[in-house]
């Protein structure tokens, strides 16, 4: 068999494959149109990252400036600090919030008290609806140095009150923990939905074989939601440079800028409010590039240990 006929054969096979799947392609028409209009046209507009964008000249008419917007960002006085803070918060949130959501989901699933479990599930879901403005209010009630409940307790125990919200050491923990508090129940939903997919006959079998509860969790429950866990972690890695704009914008104040300013808050001040949209878009591209690298790398890793893959 020579090369040509192999190519031809595989080509024919491909054509046949495509033909067999034509109904699927038909289903894709609308979503693809959607993607082209609402996702790819904006990306095409993203060329303003390389331009000095002038609204009157439009996207096409604006002057090319090469990489000037990117170098403005890289050479910014605060660049290293921004990158460090952003990565710190993203990874910490990934390491704290995701595991917490998983543990919560498993605990809710395993609990032998269905009513109690349901109550906890509903309660943990609620904080997601509190906007950060309100959460800031709650944090102030709890943590204010003057009359916060936590500081009242610290003072009662003879300790020195801590300025949680304006102290550069305490502040990062407040950010991470308040995010975990607000989002753990919400994040658990996806895992709970996944747990519902576990084949209950597996448990029956385990029970017959005398497996302990912990063994069941370890050998059945967790492995069966592993694909979802990988998926969630991979997707979060893809947007690793989004460290939570809304939260930070509400929580940060001048005394903690050095540990609170993240890329997105900087872009908001320096790009969006200062009318430098090329700069803002350039940073968006940079974030995307880093996210893509991480995602491709992590995807390879995950594929080695599991059959989950994003691509």
């Amino acid at each position: 068999m020579d090369m040509k006929s192999t190519v031809k054969r595989s080509k024919q096979k491909l054509m046949g494959d495509i033909k067999r799947h034509r109904a699927f392609y038909a289903l894709l028409i609308l979503p693809i149109c959607y993607f082209i209009i609402f996702k790819y046209l904006p990306i095409w507009n993203g060329q303003i990252a390389f331009k000095d964008f002038m609204p009157l000249d439009g996207v096409l008419g604006s002057r090319w400036v090469g990489l000037a917007n990117f170098t403005d960002f890289f050479q910014s006085f605060y660049f290293t600090e921004l990158l460090r803070n952003t990565l710190f918060y993203s990874f910490m949130k990934l390491f704290v919030s995701v595991p917490l959501s998983i543990v919560l989901a498993v605990a809710l699933y395993e609990s032998a008290r269905p009513r109690f479990s349901k109550l906890v599930q509903t309660m943990t879901y609620l904080p997601h609806f509190l906007s950060w403005v309100i959460v800031y209010g709650i944090l102030l009630v709890l943590l204010a140095p003057g009359d916060g409940i936590v500081n009242d307790i610290i003072k009662f125990l003879g300790g020195k009150p801590i300025d949680f919200l304006t102290d550069t050491k305490a502040f990062p923990w407040i950010v991470i923990l308040s995010d975990a508090w607000k989002e753990m129940g919400w994040g658990a939903i996806i895992f709970i939905a996944a747990l519902m997919g576990i084949d209950s006959s597996l448990f029956e079998a385990a029970s017959v074989e005398g497996a302990s509860a912990i063994q069941r969790v370890w050998y059945i429950t967790l492995p069966s939601i592993r694909p979802v866990i990988f998926m969630v972690v991979l997707l979060r890695l893809g947007t690793i440079l989004d460290a939570g704009f809304n939260q930070m914008f509400m929580l940060y104040s001048i005394p903690v800028f050095s540990v609170a300013d993240i890329i997105d808050t900087w872009v908001y001040r320096q790009g969006l409010l200062e009318f430098r949209f090329g700069l803002a878009t350039a940073v968006g591209l940079f974030k995307g590039a880093i996210g893509m690298l991480l995602l491709v790398f992590a995807n390879k890793l995950v594929r080695r240990i599991s059959d989950t893959s994003i691509i």
Binding site: D163, R269, L272, F277
Partner: protein
């Protein structure tokens, strides 16, 4: 079978494509109708007077009146209620060249809009609205909006100058047998007593000398407005020194170091409410109503207007705040802070000007300043939302339905545009700040008398300092963060460290910022 699938999909596609125009329809036929010979359509983005109350109703009689009388189809949209949201909305619309015809805009984004050519000069409009120009746009207002020889916006008077003051709890002073403090040292002594000597007599150490929060804007950089009385004691209130002799940035003045050292002492001695770094405006205002501190800088109405004072009155019927002078520093400086002439800019988009809407906009604004427009937008309908007292001052008293008074929630929607007609005239002040008797303690109060008192105190003139170029965002952060870090102890406040920090500030663009500011101030004739 397969044909059926395709048919179904085609049907779904068709339905979906039909849905888009249905949703977009509102937009489509609007642009169609403006071309017709009918009324001129003007889209106005206004700053709501009472942001938490809703917008005026769709069938608002005023809109109908404007259509019939002025042949203008006015389309209203309230801007978001906080400044950065407003800026984002306006900047985004600007990026798409989709700015409305007439819109309120803060000065910083407005400068950018001029740079990219999206707002039109309005010099010709002034002559088309004689009445309005005489009450709203004086020479200062025009200087405020003039860039490179052309006026790019209509600047109406904003809040009244010098409407804030130092307030102290007189009942606390009396209880502790203290005199009203005058010098910075006496202030320290009183603040200590307020903190440690239980001025409210509840047996708990839950009071502080001074209360504040961080409130920064371009002309009150650094520690912001609420700390300015202490900066003023050292002659460095506000961002800029606007005297011809010493024009420049206060932060580059050696006296700034002494002022910081004073504030740091307040922090170290814990006689300033430690929450001041985390408070937002609401929290600060809730705190003084709960008696947390005994000295503050507050705005006249936020302190003394009936609804704002009521909770304090209920909590502390025996409590009493009095207006006092700001502390006098070692070299005799004394100032509540800086004052400028505050303006609200309304800009006309280039697009509107090109479409020839200028005269219609002038017609609309001129009407707003006519007697009819002034009262209608400022207070609502006569006999329904307001009545006139013997002196011709609008009053909420004596209306058939008191709930419809313009001061009541139900009718506040009708005065959302009032900031476009108010010019701080005597009638406005009398009606907005009436004399009243407090509900619990029966005091006679008036935010107007309080304001008159506040205005008499020593202030620092800094007219035009809000029109000087703003710092770059990174420099702004470096400035604010650095100054605070010296206070919190993250940086040690020594002469050497301070000098080094100022050098870094200069390197980051502080020097250029100062030069640009001085140049602009000279050009506009702001230096006195």
């Amino acid at each position: 079978m397969k044909a059926a699938v395709l048919k179904k999909i085609a049907l779904i596609l068709a339905l979906a494509l039909m849905a888009v125009p249905v949703f977009a329809a509102g937009q489509a036929d609007k642009s169609g109708s403006t071309q017709a010979a009918g009324p001129v359509s003007i889209e106005l983005w206004y700053g709501a007077a009472i942001t938490e109350a809703g917008p005026p109703p769709q069938d608002w009689a005023v809109l109908q009146l404007i259509k019939e009388k002025l042949n203008i189809d006015l389309k209203l949209s309230a801007l978001p209620s906080n400044e950065s949201d407003q800026d984002v909305k306006i900047n985004a619309a600007a990026a798409a060249n989709a700015l409305p015809d007439l819109f309120m805009v803060r000065r910083d984004p407005w400068l950018n809009l001029i740079r990219v050519g999206l707002v039109a000069p309005v010099d010709e409009l002034y002559a088309m609205m004689p009445t309005r120009s005489s009450v709203q746009y004086d020479a200062d207002s025009k200087v405020f909006t003039t860039i490179n020889g052309k006026s790019y916006g209509l600047a109406s008077p904003g809040s009244i100058a010098k409407n804030e003051g130092m307030l102290i709890r007189k009942d606390w002073l009396d209880k502790l047998g203290l005199k009203v403090p005058v010098t910075t040292d006496e202030y320290l002594a009183v603040m200590r007593a307020f903190t440690f000597n239980d001025p409210d007599g509840n047996g708990k150490a839950d009071t502080y000398g001074y209360g504040a929060f961080i409130e920064i804007n371009n002309f009150e950089e650094g520690l912001g407005r609420r700390m300015d009385p202490f900066m003023g004691a050292f002659g460095v209130a506000g961002t800029w020194n606007m005297t011809a002799a010493n024009a420049g940035l206060n932060v580059r003045n050696p006296a700034y170091y002494d002022a910081l050292a004073y504030v740091k002492q307040m922090m170290d001695e814990k006689i300033i409410d430690p929450n001041w770094l985390s408070y937002k405006k609401d929290d600060f205002r809730a705190a003084w109503k709960q008696g947390r501190f005994g000295i503050m800088r507050e705005q006249n109405a936020a302190f003394g207007a009936e609804s704002n004072y009521a909770p304090f009155d209920k909590n502390f019927p025996k409590g009493e705040w009095i207006v006092i002078d700001a502390p006098k520093g070692p070299k005799g400086h004394q100032s509540v802070g800086v004052y400028t002439q505050a303006f609200r800019i309304y800009a006309v988009s280039t697009k509107a000007a090109a479409a020839g809407k200028g005269p219609a906009i002038a017609r609309l604004l001129e009407w707003m300043s006519s007697d009819e427009g002034y009262y209608l937008l400022g207070w609502g309908q006569k006999g329904v939302n307001y009545a006139l007292d013997a002196n011709g001052v609008p009053t909420p008293n004596g209306l058939p339905d008191p709930e419809q008074a313009w001061t009541k929630p139900a009718a506040q929607v009708f005065t959302q545009l009032r900031n476009m007609v108010y010019y701080n005239g005597q009638i406005e002040l009398l009606s907005r700040y009436p004399t009243y008797t407090t509900a619990v303690s029966g005091k006679t109060m008036s935010a107007l008398t309080i304001m008159r008192d506040m205005q008499k105190r020593p202030w620092t003139a800094a007219i035009g300092s809000d029109a000087l170029p703003p710092p770059n965002a990174d420099l702004k952060r470096f400035y604010e963060q650095g100054v605070l870090e010296f206070l919190t102890g993250k940086r040690e406040l020594t002469k050497a460290n301070w000098t080094a920090w100022v050098q870094d500030f200069d390197r980051l663009g502080g020097k250029e910022w100062e030069s640009a500011g001085i140049a602009k101030a000279k050009e506009s004739g702001y230096l006195k």
